[in-house]
């Protein structure tokens, strides 16, 4: 699968979930329709989105998505058409949430970020695990081999549903004391 699209350059580190989507926007019960709240907690966020309204790929500095467990951060990005976030590092919960919502969290060396922030367009080959920059360069990355399947087939819950019998068998064999 290739993710190709324009880049939204977010030249900031520690972009937290309150900046991605503030808590007062978490009052729904569905995963959909949250794109309108994206970056409303970020100084200059609305202007940045307006300038890059068609972007599918977000490039940011280290520790992207830190803070809350709110999956609304991933849902709001997905709803605005983002399919990948490229950063030197991610907070754990956002990283997991991204995979579970069709957003590739792509970790690259910090030294690659400057050039990617300058890119207008990028193409990400999820199978080959390389980013093709618009200046012709290629940047390699590694996806989690299991979560890559969730990404390609949209199936965290489906995967777990397929494990229910395995879990029941494990539990009865273990005779685990009921908590």
């Amino acid at each position: 699968m290739i993710i190709a699209g324009t880049v939204l350059p977010l030249d900031r580190a520690n972009v937290d979930t309150d900046q991605i989507i503030p808590a007062h926007n978490l009052t729904g019960i569905e995963k959909t329709g949250l794109g309108k709240h994206l970056f409303t907690g970020m100084t200059g966020g609305a202007e940045l989105l307006a300038r890059h309204s068609e972007a599918a790929i977000l490039v940011a500095r280290e520790n992207f998505g830190c803070g809350s467990s709110r999956e609304h951060a991933a849902w709001s990005l997905a709803d605005r058409g983002f399919r990948a976030v490229i950063a030197p590092s991610f907070a754990r919960i956002f990283y997991e949430n991204a995979y579970n919502n069709g957003i590739a969290p792509i970790v690259v060396d910090a030294t690659e970020i400057d050039a990617l922030l300058e890119s207008i367009f990028a193409s990400i080959d999820l199978e080959r695990e390389v980013i093709a920059r618009d200046d012709g360069g290629e940047v390699p990355f590694t996806l989690d081999p299991l979560r890559k399947q969730f990404l390609l087939s949209g199936g965290y819950m489906k995967f777990l549903a397929s494990k229910i019998e395995t879990v029941r068998a494990w539990e009865s064999a273990k005779g685990s004391p009921r908590a």
Partner: protein, 461 residues
């Protein structure tokens, strides 16, 4: 093979190894609140026949905006409530509820050796019991309700040895801020922080929960404290725990969970807290913290300084405040309220001050000893329990530029309201600051150690 506390808990819960250093990990307990549960619960209802693996392992708590503030939050609460009733899930609702991380231990739903997940990053609070307790997204929480498991990458383990004794007004909150400032805001990412040392052994369960609550603020998966007599006596006789021999059999097992002497760790740091004094944050993440009275560092991040309206080299005690808040899953338990009351007794606050107990049980216990009178005599607002102003979602939202001293865990830009500025500190420092209208240490009011007289009576619902 010697094992750490974390390894003992993890290894006992791995159902199967998965590609990429992932594992399918059994979850003993799922805690479900109204903000992050409906999405996964509705997906299970629509696509998986509304079947939960074991509703008896789930605890549902309306906590973030309870009572509801508007139609949307009323719908969230109703979805959680109806779903819990339909599945016969234990439900804590208006009148008996509170912050999920306060109610869960209070009601005996967490214990040593357990794995626990909740769609809330501060679930790490419950690692205080020697459980592996972590925050996850709504989809992962849904999976944990559907198949009682999480797909997790095995975290690394960092042993955090804390020697010495908290003194001179330093509290567990100050220790938490000290740990984050030492590791850095993302220094714990990929790790479980396994606490050890004499200072940890001396902490009450309330204090251990405050410490573990902020593990996520260093990026860590969770924090864990070794279970000991303090843990066992907290749980003994508590609801949802067995009694008599059955309980003692559990204690015998829990004693085996402490790290083996020769256990190895991916990283180890040692801190000494004898010289630790009250801390306060100056910036926009919890790692940007200094000792109260110290100057903001010369190499401070420019964007943080700008947002907070402060300058490198300046003293935070010069800043005027607009609001004070005592509450949240970090610091809303009875011992926190006692420490704040110790400072506020016979004094008057000079800025709007909100005190929000962590649960209705904490509220009632506080009222039985008259703390509500101390707060209200001082001019504070004494509220019902909830997450309150901490995340700017319901009451107590800051105006742009408004500055709040807060006993909470996050000072991110906009956390308590767009443009609002948050300084994190202990309940005693918040109380002293509320009296003086600027960031202040209790010692400025002649209160040397507000926690020294506070005994750790743990609230029972």
């Amino acid at each position: 093979m010697p094992q750490s506390l974390f390894e003992k808990v993890w290894n006992a819960h791995v159902v199967e190894a998965l590609p990429g250093d992932n594992a399918l990990v059994f979850v003993d307990r799922v805690v479900a609140h109204e903000i992050t549960t409906p999405q996964g619960a509705l997906e299970i209802e629509r696509e998986y026949g509304d079947t939960l693996y074991d509703p008896g392992r789930i605890v549902a708590i309306n906590d973030h905006v309870s009572p509801a503030k508007d139609m949307e939050t009323a719908i969230q609460a109703k979805v959680l409530r109806d779903w819990a009733k339909r599945h016969k899930i234990a439900l804590f609702d208006i009148g008996q509820n509170g912050i999920c991380h306060v109610v869960t231990p209070e009601r005996g739903y967490v214990e040593p050796g357990m794995t626990l997940a909740c769609g809330d990053s501060h679930t790490c609070t419950l690692g205080a019991f020697g459980a592996f307790a972590l925050g996850v997204g709504s989809t992962a929480q849904g999976g944990a309700m559907l198949a009682q498991t999480l797909v997790l990458q095995r975290p690394k383990v960092m042993r955090v040895i804390v020697n010495g004794r908290l003194q001179g007004g330093a509290t567990a909150k100050d220790l938490a801020l000290h740990v984050i400032a030492t590791l850095g805001f993302k220094g714990g990412t990929g790790y479980v922080l396994e606490y050890a040392g004499s200072a940890i052994d001396a902490l009450s369960m309330d204090e251990r929960m405050t410490l573990c609550n902020m593990a996520i603020e260093a990026g860590a998966t969770t924090g864990m404290c070794p279970p000991d007599e303090t843990t066992f006596s907290y749980l003994r006789g508590r609801e949802n725990q067995p009694t008599g021999e059955d309980f003692e059999a559990k204690v015998a097992f829990w004693r085996t969970l402490r790290a083996d002497p020769d256990a190895t760790y991916d990283r180890e740091i040692t801190l000494d807290v004898d010289a630790l004094r009250p801390m306060v944050t100056w910036g926009t993440n919890p790692g940007e913290a200094i000792a109260l009275g110290a100057q903001i560092p010369a190499d401070a991040e420019a964007s943080s300084l700008k947002y907070m309206g402060v300058e490198a080299g300046s003293d935070l005690r010069e800043l005027e405040l607009d609001q004070a808040f005592i509450g949240s899953c970090t610091n809303s338990r009875l011992s926190d309220l006692r420490a704040a009351a110790e400072v506020l007794r016979g004094r008057t606050v000079t800025i709007p001050t909100i005190v929000t107990p962590g649960s209705q049980a904490v509220k009632r216990a506080a009222e039985r000893e008259g703390l509500h009178d101390i707060f209200q005599d001082a001019g504070c607002l004494w509220t019902h329990s909830s997450c309150g102003p901490c995340l700017g979602m319901s009451m107590g939202v800051l105006a742009p530029g408004g500055r709040c001293i807060s006993s909470t865990n996050r000072n991110f830009p906009g956390r308590m309201g767009t443009g609002g500025r948050v300084h994190l500190a202990s309940p005693a420092v918040v109380a002293a600051s509320a009296v003086l209208g600027r960031i202040a240490s209790p010692s400025e009011l002649g209160v040397v150690d507000a926690t020294a007289t506070v005994t750790a009576t743990e609230v029972r619902a």
